[in-house]
Point group: C2
DNA sequence: GGGAGCTTCCAAAGCGCTTCGATATCTTTC
DNA sequence: GAAAGATATCGAAGCGCTTTGGAAGCTCCC
């Protein structure tokens, strides 16, 4: 069923039917109603490609997600982000396409995406500190919003990010207030912007109290359970082991918890742990009482905000770059406590 | 840059340029080369919408993923599945679109997808035992492949699934061989086909040894960490607590591990645990030595297979329904051991 | 009663591509 | 050397939609 057939069926011209369906004013309300009903009954939906060709708008948003084939690693945050974004797309009548991109030929990927014309805008995931995609996309003239930021770039562009620095500063301060002095940071890969910023927040808090960060208590790696375990195990084996640890994801925190148990210690009593919690749907930090004390910021929500921002930019390309900095909550769970007396 | 401009630039007709680019034989190799180079240099890529309109093929595959807004739950398996599928799509020049669908208006969603014509086929995720989508899609005449199966449906359709029944049967047998008799099943929601089949495998193994399944040792729910924790904690509090537990996901297994520790017991010694492991990239079951004894089947691989199958179906719609049953490996990790003497 | 001003509808062009059918040029064959 | 075949190219139609620029039919008012 296409427009032509529908029009013939209704004894109307394609023009009128099209206008009726798209809400143009110059069509009699009664005919519009008739058209709408017929469309419904005959199960008509305009062909998206034809529509796109005619209007020049694809009505779809692209998500380009970096998938390292080297590490075969898919960021678990991604699913929830997309779920949030999707909610907004659906409301606005947009579709969503995904493309995984290897570490190579990133730019080519974006260029083709634009040339093929099947997206009106894209969301950039997982920016590094000096992410080459951002200047490239600006120059390409494709609307985009970054989930995260690129610290070293001084260009206007739109982004949605959580305040990583502040969150980790607060987390560190919280531990310092509890009397901890030997605080470890088990961070993500630090060429990733979010991880870099978290380290900065961590270091600032320590420095402000006259405690320099100790490299033995710091590690950076891909946020897996075993990474958390190994980093923590190594640090716990030190003669002056840390009394508290901060980490970047719940998954790593779970590994840390395992290492703490394996060392015969108890989390929250012997060793305090704070994690960042992206509030992932399949990895809730406890049902009501949180397991881990955490800095929490919903990545689902970030997805919604980024989508809304991008749609606004597409609607009005002259809009100046927007940004939104989300503050993480510091929620207290069972994984933190005062520094144990004997190790003070 | 469009075809017309490119053709003008080359002093050729659109026809010839189009044919050169699409590998038709009736064009001089020298001109083809010239065209290819110009396209490369001028950064030309055919407009996907126009191409789709002309050919009637969208060159994109749709993934419809059920997102329960009620539970706000996104299946973590999804990311890796898609990464696998995407690998195949890229090779074949296909794009991928995602649509999340609420619990309502599923059918409407598929119908529109078809009517709008922006997919050539779809992958159906998370089938329930009597999934209404399957007969509906068949009748709709849209190519599709199901990730999983619908036990109660007796229709030909294409699917890729792992042998859930057999995997859980083997896992149960393995525990029985170790002397365990009180074995618990901490399963997913059992209207989901995979969970139902796993229960069947579990029960079959028990029955074969003359041990009927005990409802006190069985639970079904959404596979979260806290669900694993609570189910396990409840069972461990029983006067005759289970000596072993089988569960459907690593995330739940982590919760079970926590419950075991909380009860002052040790996993692998006091309580054995086997989990199913989807081999998710961000949730590896230990780097080399697996933490959990597990039935393992890569969902990334399932994605690749499903994609290949769907592409074959699209290429030749007359192909009969295909299917592929993947056997899970049973890998031995540190979470299982012989039944403790005192509880035998 | 006849333009002015609305309202309501339509014909046709155009979006960027593929592809059918035709044409022009060059070889081959008897 | 003309017919036949092979090779390389082109013109134009058509995919299903939107949208511009009318046009037809009304009402209205002097």
């Amino acid at each position: 069923m296409n427009l032509k057939q529908l029009a013939a069926h209704l004894n109307l011209s394609q023009t009128t039917v099209s206008r009726a369906l798209n809400g143009y004013p110059e069509v009699n309300e009664q005919t519009r109603k008739r058209v709408m009903e017929a469309a419904q009954a005959l199960n008509y939906a305009p062909n998206a490609r034809a529509k796109g060709l005619a209007t020049g708008r694809a009505m779809t948003i692209g998500h380009v997600i970096p998938f390292s084939h080297q590490h075969q690693m898919m960021n678990p945050v991604f699913g929830d982000f997309i779920a949030g974004a999707s909610d907004e797309y659906v409301k606005a009548g947009y579709d969503m396409t995904l493309s995984m991109t290897g570490d190579r030929d990133e730019e080519e990927n974006y260029r083709r995406l634009k040339a093929k014309g099947n997206v009106d805008g894209i969301i950039v995931h997982g920016p590094s500190m000096r992410d080459g995609r951002i200047p490239f996309l600006r120059q390409l003239g494709l609307s985009f919003v970054v989930h995260g930021r690129a610290t070293e770039l001084d260009l206007p562009y739109s982004w949605v990010d959580m305040n990583n620095t502040h969150a980790f500063q607060r987390a560190t301060d919280f531990l310092l207030d509890l009397g901890h002095r030997r605080i470890a940071l088990i961070n993500g890969l630090e060429f990733m912007d979010f991880a870099y910023r978290r380290r900065v927040g961590f270091e600032q808090a320590l420095t402000a109290r006259g405690t320099g960060p100790d490299p033995r208590y710091m590690s950076a790696g891909e946020m897996t359970e075993s990474y958390g375990f190994e980093s923590a195990a190594r640090m716990l084996a030190l003669p002056d082991r840390p009394t508290a640890m901060i980490t970047s994801s719940v998954i790593a925190a779970i590994g840390i918890r395992r290492a703490i148990h394996a060392a015969g210690l108890e989390m929250g009593r012997d060793i305090s742990v704070i994690t960042h919690d992206d509030d992932l749907s399949f990895l809730r930090n406890g049902p009501d009482v949180p397991i881990f004390t955490a800095t929490r910021s919903s990545v689902y929500e970030a997805g919604r905000i980024a989508a809304t921002m991008l749609l606004a930019h597409i609607a009005d390309p002259d809009l100046p770059a927007q940004s939104r900095l989300l503050e993480a909550q510091l929620i207290i769970g069972g994984s933190t406590g005062p520094v144990p007396q004997d190790t003070r």
